[in-house]
């Protein structure tokens, strides 16, 4: 089958691009490193010796966690976007549009105010994020209007509500300490990622991503609609429930680390479909790689373009919005 071959080629190209971009990201920055030196430092670290403490510090404490963080967060957001789109059989939804990101932001900001640990932040972000997506899906049901547009509108309602709640939290936050940390974190940055943050994220990412990749073929069936799925013997409640919980958990854990970074969850699945087609068994792995690569590129640009770091949401918006417009034009999307 030619489609399988082209899929493998695409995946190979993405992996190669990811490796090359990672090497570039490792070497450039305010402290620039020769790729060979970086390689040498990694080798000597493996052997347990230290040649250049400053360089090792940059490589192991700053850049590697940041590179991994960008890849994982990008993959998380794209994967949850792809899953939401299948579950709600709606190509217009994403973690940001369904209000999950705003909800998770409110949860995490609330936890910051309460002085919770990173674990507490994750938990609050997940709970409020999940509540948001449930509310967003409840409104169309209450109004008995199952159209794609209705779900998007209801996501806007929930997102608006969550943004207002975030405003309340900011209003009551202590100006010098809490407020600035909420604002800075909310704009989206991977700067603060350290090895221990990764250790919190990684298990959630691995478990949820594995589950969703395993379910990816069934998600195809879910995207045909409820009755078709049920007559094919699919346990709807279980499948939808686990897909929504896993993607919300991933979104929440990404939001906890980096604040809400828009657009990725919406455009990357579209891009994936354009390249490998709609079959989730191919599209989901492809979207994860694409999302990781995309955010890594964005983050590397963000920290190199000016002497000050540019918040990621600014860049994803500047690139994402026109890209989405182009994708809609390219797909001749019939939005109903």
């Amino acid at each position: 089958m030619t489609s399988l071959r082209s899929y493998r080629l695409v995946m190979l190209a993405l992996v190669v691009a990811l490796v090359i971009t990672s090497i570039i990201a490792l070497c450039i920055g305010r402290y620039s490193i020769n790729p060979l030196d970086a390689f040498g430092a990694i080798l000597s670290r493996m052997q347990g010796s230290t040649d250049n403490a400053a360089m090792e510090n940059v490589i192991f404490v700053l850049r590697i966690p940041r590179i991994l963080g960008a890849i994982i967060i990008g993959a998380c957001l794209s994967l949850s976007g792809a899953v939401y789109q299948s579950v709600f059989k709606n190509p217009l939804v994403s973690p940001d549009i369904l209000g999950v990101s705003s909800g998770a932001t409110v949860g995490a900001a609330g936890a910051i105010l309460l002085g919770a640990s990173i674990f507490g932040r994750q938990l609050c972000a997940f709970v409020v994020g999940l509540v948001s997506v449930l509310l967003a899906t409840a409104i169309p049901k209450l109004l008995k209007n199952g159209s794609n547009l209705m779900l998007v509108l209801s996501g806007i309602i929930i997102g608006g509500l969550m943004d207002a709640l975030l405003g309340v939290l900011k209003f009551i936050a202590e100006e010098d300490t809490e407020l600035s940390s909420i604002v800075y974190w909310q704009m989206g940055s991977i700067q603060a990622v350290k090895m221990d943050t990764l250790l919190y994220m990684l298990p959630i990412f691995l478990v949820c991503a594995t589950l969703l990749v395993l379910l990816s073929w069934r998600l195809n069936i879910l995207s045909f609609g409820e009755s078709e799925a049920k007559t094919l013997g699919v346990n709807l409640k279980w499948l939808r429930g686990s897909a929504i919980i896993a993607s919300s958990l991933m979104t929440a854990s990404a939001v906890c680390v980096s604040g809400s970074i828009g657009w990725i969850g919406l455009i990357i699945p579209h891009l994936g479909r354009l390249v490998v087609g709609s079959d989730n068994t191919k599209m989901i792995p492809c979207a994860m790689l694409m999302g990781g690569l995309f955010l890594l590129v964005i983050d590397t640009v963000a920290r190199n373009i000016t002497s000050l770091e540019v918040p990621l949401s600014i860049l994803t918006g500047l690139i994402g919005a026109p890209l989405y417009a182009w994708l809609l034009w390219k797909q001749k999307a019939r939005v109903m």
Binding site: S86, I221, F224, K230, L232, G233, S278
Partner: protein
């Protein structure tokens, strides 16, 4: 094995005293009982809003009647795992355009879902099963086309192919002739007829009593009060009853050239 269902056991769907009413209180099913077998075609007729699709959805286990029970091979359908039901009953929905674009083969292979574990994907044998159904429907050339870019008639055939890939005893079709041109309508009816000959039970809803006559088998008429009358077409389909059902004068007659009974509307009054 699937090529000819006659070898396999006879399957049966029975309804016992079903009641169903919409929220606003309109009764759809009023003490409805029936027994349909594999190897039969049952054409469900009824006026607009009588609830033909609701009735079909009850049979497909998509919705549950308020009272009464539906038995699949003697067991209460609600107590049978969905996967097991899906091995017995395939469902061909009204033609829809899916949100995402799948190839015809990828669509048809989802018919193997009841035979696949929750975490598994179709393997070569399942693709072979899907190809077998595609060949059975004679649509090999559509195989790699995208489902959203084929015509309505072709989509109908693809949906039937997917139901065949489920290897069920019954295939339920919701208005299989709707949205099709006349040639394609006849083609679908022919397919239904040949499925019966292979031993499948086909239960369909239709707006056209003449289609029921063409299929020459069982008929179930659902009227506005929610009563169901089931039996052989020749016994159930009477000129007077049909005219009353559709609230319009209809003629039922044997045509020499067609060599069958025909149901048609007479010339309008001037």
């Amino acid at each position: 094995m699937t090529e000819n269902r006659c070898n396999t056991q006879l399957s049966q769907i029975e309804g016992r005293h079903l009641f169903y009413a919409y929220e606003r209180g309109r009764t759809i099913l009023q003490d409805v009982s029936f027994s349909f077998r594999s190897g039969e075609i049952v054409s469900i007729l009824g006026p607009n809003g009588a609830g033909k699709t609701t009735f079909l959805n009850c049979l497909a286990n998509l919705i549950a009647p308020e009272r009464g029970e539906i038995l699949l091979n003697g067991r209460d359908i609600r107590r049978i795992p969905l996967r097991e039901v899906a091995k017995e009953i395939g469902y061909v929905p009204q033609i829809i355009v899916p949100t995402f674009d799948f190839s015809v083969l990828d669509y048809v292979v989802t018919g193997c879902a009841p035979r696949l574990g929750t975490f598994s994907r179709p393997k070569q044998e399942h693709y072979d099963m899907a190809m077998e159904s595609i060949r059975r429907m004679g649509i090999e050339k559509l195989c790699n086309r995208s489902y959203s870019q084929i015509s309505g008639g072709e989509r109908q055939q693809v949906s039937i192919a997917r139901a065949l890939a489920q290897r069920p005893a019954f295939i339920l079709m919701d208005e299989p002739t709707a949205h099709l041109d006349y040639g394609n309508q006849i083609k679908v009816l022919k397919t239904i007829r040949s499925l019966k000959e292979e031993g499948y039970g086909v239960i369909l809803t239709t707006h056209n009593p003449d289609h029921a006559l063409l299929l020459q088998d069982q008929v179930a008429v659902l009227d506005r009060t929610g009563r169901l009358q089931a039996g052989r077409d020749v016994d159930i389909l009477q000129e007077h009853a049909l005219s009353e059902l559709y609230e319009t004068p209809l003629k039922l007659f044997y045509d020499e050239r067609l060599q069958r009974k025909v149901c048609a509307a007479p010339q309008f009054d001037a």
